[in-house]
Amino acid sequence: MQKVLIANRGEIALRIVRACRELGIKTLAVYSEADLESLHVQLADEAICIGGPQSADSYLRADRIISAAEIADVDAIHPGYGFLAENADFAEQCASCNIKFIGPSAESIRMMGDKAIAKETVKKVGVPVCGGSDGTVETEEEAVQIATKVGYPVMIKAVAGGGGKGLRIAHNDISLRKEFILARSEAEKAFGNGEVLIEKYIENPRHIEFQVLADRHGNVVHLGERDCSIQRRHQKLIEEAPSPFVNDDLRKRMGEAAVAATKAADYEGAGTIEFLVDPKGNFYFLEMNTRIQVEHPVTEEVTGIDLIKQQIQIARGEPLAFKQEEVQYNYHAIECRINAEDPARNFAPSPGCIDLYYAPGGHGVRVDSHAYGGYIIPPYYDSMIGKLITYGRSREVAIERMYRALSEYLIRGIHTTIPLQKAIISDARFQAGEATTAFMEEFMKNPPKMD
């Protein structure tokens, strides 16, 4: 593999450039007209403009991306996360053009991209799933029958949804009938697929996900869990590893389930199995993300394993260099997503020029960001401008370090979520490891003064 095209932007594109550099692989950045000054575009070995500022006119243009891959003679494409990363058609097009898609096959993406099929697939290999429908639900009557069987409250989920989209909750027959119809038409409009399934709604779960790696030789390992329960409207704000809730026994059982699910998906590459965990420690398969995730750095700092390099090495056909028993959890790591948003104004996006930028550093601090002094954040894409990761020998050290690093971080000219992150990190319930997915809603009812 001599040259890789990076079909993404922002911090993950920079991350991929770095991994390729270390592996001696040349990089080609494809970018929109709004990203000419982006850091990874400047650092990549080659760069090709693929369209206008709108994602639909650039980063989602599979045809232009593959065209760029051909004229620049690349061997592989790394899709990052978002955009085309979980687009099975794109993976298929790469394969038919003889370009290696760094990720799983189109079939695996399709299988796990449909929530109903994914659930059936993992259920067959003994992975616990939420009680609910057996596949999709066609009629209101069926919905009511299922809800009566598993008990209210229930969740109506679009099979083509993901990332928190296409979810509705019903607490009784009347609201179920109403929400069922609405959910179907919403899903049709948003995803082009109106199919829904019904699941028992678990109240105040923890969102705990497992990182997996699968090579082309049948080896699958998990690299432990990440606790991503701090979410606002299903968007993760803070992630940590290991989870304060998971003990060795639960980790072993969930890890085995994650590996079984990954094998059932006939998977290749890096992936994540998401679970919901109830207060009693029962865990249920939520979905599989067939891509590298935003929060991958916390697993990297805990285990010492470079996940992007692993993706590339797996794509090159190399077997995994380590066995499950050799995976160690040496540190505790926390990540805060830094978004260009104003938490004091309902998270209004805050694009514009960063006229002063100073990132924190020191022992146990990692910054994954494409921002720099003078960088103008374009308004066309998501608001995440970077990730701040801290790690230490204990969770307490990681938390103290995060507070120190957040305090040191200087980003002037735009609003960021840094003040909110500091407030969450300082919260007693968060520090006690008690946060579930209900935390943020509670927290925002009485947000403390943010400095």
Binding site: D45, E46, I48, S67, I71, G374
Partner: protein, 141 residues
Amino acid sequence: MKKSDLSEFEVEEENFKLKIKRDTGKEAPPQIISSAPPPAAAPSVPAAQPVSTAAESGEAEADNATYITSPMVGTYYSSPSPESDAYVKSGDTVSNDTIVCIIEAMKIMNEIQAEQSGAIAETLVENGQPVEYGQKLFRLA
């Protein structure tokens, strides 16, 4: 910094300059001046080499000119086949649907229309050259 006698502190690395000056007269917080020059200037890092060089030559001119730019990523061909004449040459007048070139993308030959009217002043790309989205192909007089 308050505890030390340092009133000025400077760090310079290849991509990044940081200068902290403590104003010894007042109790103001240190002025942190971070000027990160555009990373393309970094010496040890090869600057991005866009496949096109036409973009750079275009910027050198006083840009009141109009251009026909590429609507796609691919390979530019000036004529319908190696044996034929070029679609257009300097001096030719074009209108909206005049075909000015072919851009081949993924084995498909796309006929590119001018989508504006004017006279071709200069052809900015060479036959067989890879072009990116937005790349200037022709300058119009």
